[in-house]
Amino acid sequence: MNKDFNITAKLTPSEKAYATAKHPTEQQKIDANWRYESLHVMLWALGFIDSLSYPDQMCNVANDVKIIHGLTAQQFRKNAKLRTKKEILDQADLILRLDWACVDAQTKNKPAPANLDKGVVFERHHSLNWLINYMKQDWDDVTTDT
């Protein structure tokens, strides 16, 4: 994949550190695995996925990977249709409120409300904040303030 998609040039410093680590830590692997949720948001933003469902469970990774796997880099780029600013902001506003609910529950030592998966909510918030250029932060530095 690296060779065909010229991935190295697209990685952030922390992603490069993980990608080149001979012995990545368990935390690095866990963090990396959560990136599938961010991928899901990007595929939605690019029009490959119709909608973002209620974040009470993780995305279907196999379906998401299949979207990229089935195309060349050029086809993937050509087929991508970025959603409108309004659509992305609508999701950014929603995830801000859902994340607030999770964080608020956490500060009260309670589980996430309404069956929300706080991990999924966090990843989506991070991804959507990046998409809307929140505070002009790079991917590694994106904050999810609530």
């Binding site: 697209k10 599938y36 195309l71 880099a73 780029r77 801000l96 609910a101």
Partner: protein, 163 residues
């Protein structure tokens, strides 16, 4: 000796226990014990004058015990805990129309899913001030994220991605 131990145990209960019944019983017993000790020492002919003067400290302890008792029995500590943080709501009038519409839409979604709603003003930036990422940037990010995800499972080398 027994009286001294009892005094310390009662004080421990009054100052550390939160149960109102225990605090009430321990505090009352302790107060009686302190008053009794105070009177007894003041009236005793076997206690020298210097020692008698130190008995005034008992009144200070008594006041402290009664204060703690009142605070705990009246639930004043609970009131402090429940006190709302000092958050001054920002007036919605500063929000743009698209921000208000977006908020309303999101809150309806939250209500439908029984997600608690933030009582104060919380907005993403107005549409006019936001510039979303370019499509090529998002495509690159998607590819990078896919690679990182696959690597976390040791699958990044397995597939033949030759196109």
């Amino acid at each position: 000796m027994i009286k001294s131990n009892l005094t310390w145990q009662l004080m421990f209960c009054v100052y550390t226990v939160q149960n109102k019944l225990i605090v009430g019983l321990a505090g009352t017993t302790l107060a009686i014990l302190l008053i009794w000790s105070f009177i007894k020492m003041r009236k005793s002919k076997n206690v020298d004058r210097k020692t008698k003067q130190t008995t005034w400290w008992l009144l200070l302890v008594l006041v402290s015990v009664i204060t703690v008792m009142i605070v705990k029995l009246m639930g004043l500590t609970d009131i402090q805990k429940q006190a709302k943080p000092i958050i001054k709501p920002v007036k919605d009038s500063t929000a743009t129309r698209d921000q208000l519409e977006r908020r309303s839409q999101s809150e309806n979604y939250c209500k439908a899913h029984q997600v608690p709603i933030y009582a104060y003003t919380l907005f993403v930036d107005p549409e006019a001030e936001v510039s979303i990422r370019a499509v090529d940037e998002v495509v690159d990010r998607a590819l990078a994220l896919c690679y990182i995800g696959l690597k976390s499972e040791g699958l990044e080398q397995r597939d033949n991605w030759t196109k």
